[in-house]
């Protein structure tokens, strides 16, 4: 009884963690499966076949590379535009600033399917051919709000005296921005960029509406193949992405810990 009272928080924490991690572990385990038939839904036997030939499924690696390219460009576009908007919203007082401030959140709050449909209507009415560019524009649109939110928080907490100090110390406007403003805003920009990349990479609904017949992203490929059969390679890609993400987070942790250690030394 006493043991439970003492460790309840830890137990609850571990259960929650398991709840979150378990799906990933299943994906991982089934990447080593050798399914009997087209569907990878029941465990048969251990095999490294899929890992040895990750692109063995027709069109899958093309869709993966398309998704990565899309995510990269969408991140770049959203970060560039979003950072500029965030600075404008924090630093300048202009007409319609308030309404822009709330409109920026609209893509976040709106149901994705509504936004997908309205974007499609827009593209069709303008006579734009659906394909890579329409998907990219759509992705930048919904990534923008997240970048603005992340960067804005950072810029708002920034001491304006820092830039004054830079100007006072012989840095012109460009130097001040590059040497002081940008490095200090960088964590916010990076956070916004990571969010944008992840959101763009796994978006399905908006992409599905606005993609042309030849633009098949990775989520669309997974969805499509699920109708006919699920190749093990999907689990391989999934596992690789998960492990990569975990490694990045761990590297970040190690770096901050080391910095803290030198700080106290």
């Amino acid at each position: 009884m006493r043991w439970i009272r003492k460790n309840l928080v830890v137990v609850a924490g571990l259960l929650t963690l398991a709840y979150m991690i378990l799906p990933n572990l299943v994906v991982m385990a089934f990447s080593f499966n050798k399914p009997n038939g087209r569907f990878n839904y029941s465990w048969q036997q251990f095999s490294l076949d899929a890992w040895k030939d990750p692109c063995g499924v027709a069109d899958m690696c093309q869709s993966l590379s398309l998704s990565l390219r899309l995510a990269a460009w969408a991140t770049l576009g959203a970060v560039a535009l979003g950072t500029a908007i965030a600075f404008a919203l924090v630093r300048y007082r202009f007409r319609a600033r308030g309404s822009i401030n709330s409109l920026i959140f609209l893509p976040m709050a709106m149901p994705e399917v509504v936004m997908a449909a309205s974007l499609l209507t827009l593209f069709l009415n303008m006579g734009i051919e659906l394909g890579f560019w329409t998907v990219l524009i759509a992705h930048i649109t919904f990534c923008l709000s997240f970048v603005v939110t992340a960067v804005k928080a950072r810029v708002m907490s920034m001491d304006p005296r820092l830039e004054e100090a830079a100007r006072d110390l012989y840095a012109g406007p460009a130097q001040t921005f590059l040497r002081v403003t940008l490095p200090i805003a960088a964590p916010g920009i990076a956070a916004g960029g990571l969010l944008a990349f992840a959101l763009s990479f796994d978006d399905f609904i908006i992409t599905n509406f606005n993609a042309g017949p030849s633009t098949v992203t990775f989520p669309m490929f997974v969805w499509g193949s699920a109708q006919r059969g699920t190749p093990v390679q999907i689990n391989v890609i999934g596992t690789a992405m998960f492990v990569l993400a975990v490694l990045v987070v761990m590297a970040g942790q190690i770096i901050t810990n080391r910095r803290k250690k030198t700080a106290t030394a």
Partner: protein
Amino acid sequence: MTDKTAHTGKNTGGGDVRLTGISKAYGSFTAVHPLDLTVPQGSFFALLGASGCGKTTTLRMIAGLEDPSTGTVFLGDTDVTDLPPYKRPVNTVFQSYALFPHMDISENIAFGLRRRGIKSVKKQVDEMLELVQLGDKARHKPHQLSGGQQQRVAVARALINHPQVLLLDEPLGALDLKLRRQMQLELKRIQTEVGITFVHVTHDQEEAMTMADQVAVMNGGRVEQLGAPADLYENPRTTFVANFLGTSNLIEAEVLEAGSDVLVTAGGGKLRVPGDRCTPAVRAGGRLLVGVRPEKISLTHADDAGAIADGRNRVTGRIADSSFIGVSTQYVVNSPAGAELQVYEQNIERDARLVPGAEVVLHWNPAHTFGLDADQDIDAGVESVEDAG
């Protein structure tokens, strides 16, 4: 190369800071009324005033961080009014220090030199670290230093550029009292060592008086009085200066005789004021505020009143309160001439009869009396509770 750059921006004589007719208005609010001010080269100059008096705005106009609404800023013979801050040979120590959080201490200090394209900065940075006694902290980040150390880095970061003028915006405001006293001496030492003009903004009158050669007392966007600390303290020309710098007893009086020795009457008694220490023109029948500092007054029990030497100004009263401070005792005395007169007595030979309720005579040398224009607010510049500290 290093030797030459070390002298870049160093003044070549005639390096006074001159403000002529400078003012700053934000919409309908005037932060600084047109003012003329000359800061002599190489001096330690303090702008003193309560918050919102325009002292920081004045400083920021010298730095170029604020555009004046009217007037010009001269550094030496150069008009720098339209120059952006990064083109002025002036550097600032900010109130919050504004150290760059993403750079270590030596990068912070080297920032100004680097921006001017100077490549070999190590020697100068090391010298600066030595000057502010932070040689072992070169590779630390600002947040790893204490407030006092950050403050010294901010000074070093500005001084390394050998500015013509160093501007200090309440640099000691965030430090605790003991550290503040220590840093005051430190800053004064550095200023004497490098010989650069310092313009120091502060709301702490003690700080201004300890450090500065010249103090400009500001109030409501105007300079009330300018002078050496002792001069301001002994000869305040307005009630604001009299009350803001230290404490003054101001007594409303009526003038009986004008002349080189002004005779006035207050609360039934007669007082003398040297004519040359009266700010307004004095005429018989007019009104005058008679001022005297608390430490100039001696306190004698009423029973011993006969022993007081002739020729001294006297006021009778009753002790309302006394507080023992260690080196001195501070009395509050109510008298017909004025309520709540402050008297500071050294604790040399304490008279046990001087307790609240005792009848006493306040007396002082008439030479220590000053006269102020009676049309002013008698309480101007008195520190209220929320301003204190």
